[in-house]
Symmetry: C2
Amino acid sequence: MFKTVELGRKMSKEKFREALPKLREDLLAAHSELREKKLSVIFIMAGADAAGKGEVVQRLTEWLDPHGVDTYAFWEADSGDLPANARYWHAMPGRGRIGIFFGSWYTAPMVEKVYGKWKAKDFNKALSRIVFFENMLVEDGTIIVKIWLHLSKKEQEKAIKKLEKDGRATGKDWKHFKMYDKFMEVSEQIVSQTDSGPAPWHLVEAADRRHREFTCGSILLKAIRSRLAALKAKSSEKNAVIQVNIPDAGEISVLDKVDLNEKLTEEEYRKSIEKYQTRLSKLAWTAFEKKRSMVLVFEGWDAAGKGGAIRRVIEAMDPRLYRVVGIAAPTDEERAQHYLWRFWRRLPYPAGTTTIFDRSWYGRVLVERVEGFAPVADWSRAYLEINDFEDQMVSHGIILNKFFLHISPEEQLKRFKERETVAYKHFKITQEDWRNRNKWDDYEIAINEMIIRCGTAMAPWTLVAANDKHFARIQVLKTVVKSLENAL
Amino acid sequence: MFKTVELGRKMSKEKFREALPKLREDLLAAHSELREKKLSVIFIMAGADAAGKGEVVQRLTEWLDPHGVDTYAFWEADSGDLPANARYWHAMPGRGRIGIFFGSWYTAPMVEKVYGKWKAKDFNKALSRIVFFENMLVEDGTIIVKIWLHLSKKEQEKAIKKLEKDGRATGKDWKHFKMYDKFMEVSEQIVSQTDSGPAPWHLVEAADRRHREFTCGSILLKAIRSRLAALKAKSSEKNAVIQVNIPDAGEISVLDKVDLNEKLTEEEYRKSIEKYQTRLSKLAWTAFEKKRSMVLVFEGWDAAGKGGAIRRVIEAMDPRLYRVVGIAAPTDEERAQHYLWRFWRRLPYPAGTTTIFDRSWYGRVLVERVEGFAPVADWSRAYLEINDFEDQMVSHGIILNKFFLHISPEEQLKRFKERETVAYKHFKITQEDWRNRNKWDDYEIAINEMIIRCGTAMAPWTLVAANDKHFARIQVLKTVVKSLENAL
């Protein structure tokens, strides 16, 4: 594949000078339209050592508006506290911005494979995760431009010698040069397996400076333009047909299987809560010592008792070991990103601590679906995105528990009325709660689908019978304790 | 001082049980009013080892709404990449939230003094910096509650023995116990020197669990309430008299001393730019190797050529080594913090890189002053705050250059007109530019005062004669190069 681009392409000084002003003007205009349309760009600069990646990026930042561009080198080694993708999420360009990534999610597969540290299975899994990840970003309005600068073996040798003359070559350059063929082999695998429609690779012959710089600029311009054009075309066909599973009314839902008659006596409750809180209190410290983070997700009907259940969990934990994150309307920095971004930034840190989400990323397939805040295409894609997100957590060693607190509509009504009459509970009930209640059936459909599609083997749901608050709290505590005991 | 609180205070179980419901209810109500009024709380938990700091915090988080509380332990050692206060800025509770800090800006002075690593001068400087810092946060709407849990020597011994029985004592506990008197001595110095009116210390006898927990809860409640009360009282006397230096019209300003006739020929410009860019290009890498970060601040009249000057600087630098931050309207996460927060979060990281601010924290004393966005009390306080901020940068080893690009009103008019007629410059001129121009005299007063009051020896201003763009760009480049050469 790489051989085929070795055509000796060059660009003359005159041609470069002549063509440049137009390219720069067009790039500036494209950048400004990008901002207007709230699209973002991730520009991935990959390729051979000594191929001039730094120079190309320097040139591009010169041509673009520097206020809208952030360059990331991902220099520092990862602490390992968070799933590997966290560092890229933290560097994600917000809508309207351009992020230039030196090194990226391609670095680890490349290095680990060349040095023979990963098995084929891990390598392939990493690549298909990348395809999924890039696709997800593209769907969300990111333009991904991936450039691979290619040098033939002879050219690379020449380039490293030149670096050497300038005192800029390192031992690693020569070491890698000796592994040229191995690098080519792995590069081909990577490029061919991740050369997807939404985020294609561009192989650029890198020997001639002017050719590579002008070509990279042109590729960036073209990528932005074609996305803008697609956007215009798309707005006319917005209502694409998407297949959605809507169960027939009356069909049995997973929630029907929850036995809402479960309850505990005051005595049983008191004994159990002491038992599990004592265990949790120690387990939380053990998890910290062993650097095993935990994520707890609480979903459930309004007034199902999420807050009370969370309180019984944190009562047992040292406050230095957890953080409670209530999910309400996103901030404007969050709105400028993919919807998963706000959860990535709240993952437990440092390693060994716990984040408790009071409502979560499942809002995407619950409230955003039912209220129509997200178009069908967006929320129906979310099941896969969420499964992948949770898979990344669990694969990284994070202990994940997801709770859905289920109550009957009658119980909810009772609790709403109580909230309205008891003074210090009054602040807990709003008009919105009543509105949500009227959409019970729509929510039930959405909940049912969520539990089925995101109840994966690796991240199962715990359905909590919550008509009896005591029973619910113990079920939650017990599940958390058991999951920690299993994991530690 | 500490001896005097050793009164053997206790709280009986009955009294605790009886008083608690009211305290909890009041705390919840206060927390909710806090949110409404957009005030924040920093609760600093300090004091003797084994005094029960963790337990108190655990209790408080139980009593408050956990969604509005974040607890920080500052466990990890500081990387040293950023000025020491950066970690506290990153943990700052936004408006409406409560941040509980275990360990805080008091930890370093305490430890370093007890172990004899700091001289008296450094210790005293650190303490007065703390007073200033806390005062600044209080002025901005933060309630600072500082609690020092005290144990007599005998009580501490008992407490450590108890920890030992539970398997929770460490060698450090006994080591520190042997240094009890030394700790007391330094604690007294710290408490007495930082016991300011806006952020007073509360010494709490810690031997009795119920007494210390209830007392800490009550102190927190009282602190919030008294601030809320003060807020109500204050709204009636908002127009407190604040002394502002306004020079007489026609008085000579520092800007008048800038020789706007300075210019360079095309030839001189070309030679100089090559010379300085070549040097800068290498210096930037040297700075990175030596981990010396740099901050460049660009201020100036509209159309003074800030963008062009910045471009000539970054042309010379590898894009992995700098970040350009354009300062426009704050995001809502930024609005929820002290105005300096958004700059703290953008300081150069990792160590050895450069952040270029296109407009900066000086907006506080320029646009916010002239347009009346900030009340007089706020912007007039800002000079000191800014000097302290810059002092922290420079003391940390950051190379700081501040440029003010000065042009004449006639030159500005010429450039505005050019921008309006030249197609590709059109986007650079807005109605706001014309409005700002009409306030030239007000801005001149504000600029003059800013340059005088913030032109400190440690962070001087460079006034750039910018009627000639070539001259201005070279002056900027040269200053940056020289400052790097001096520092490295």
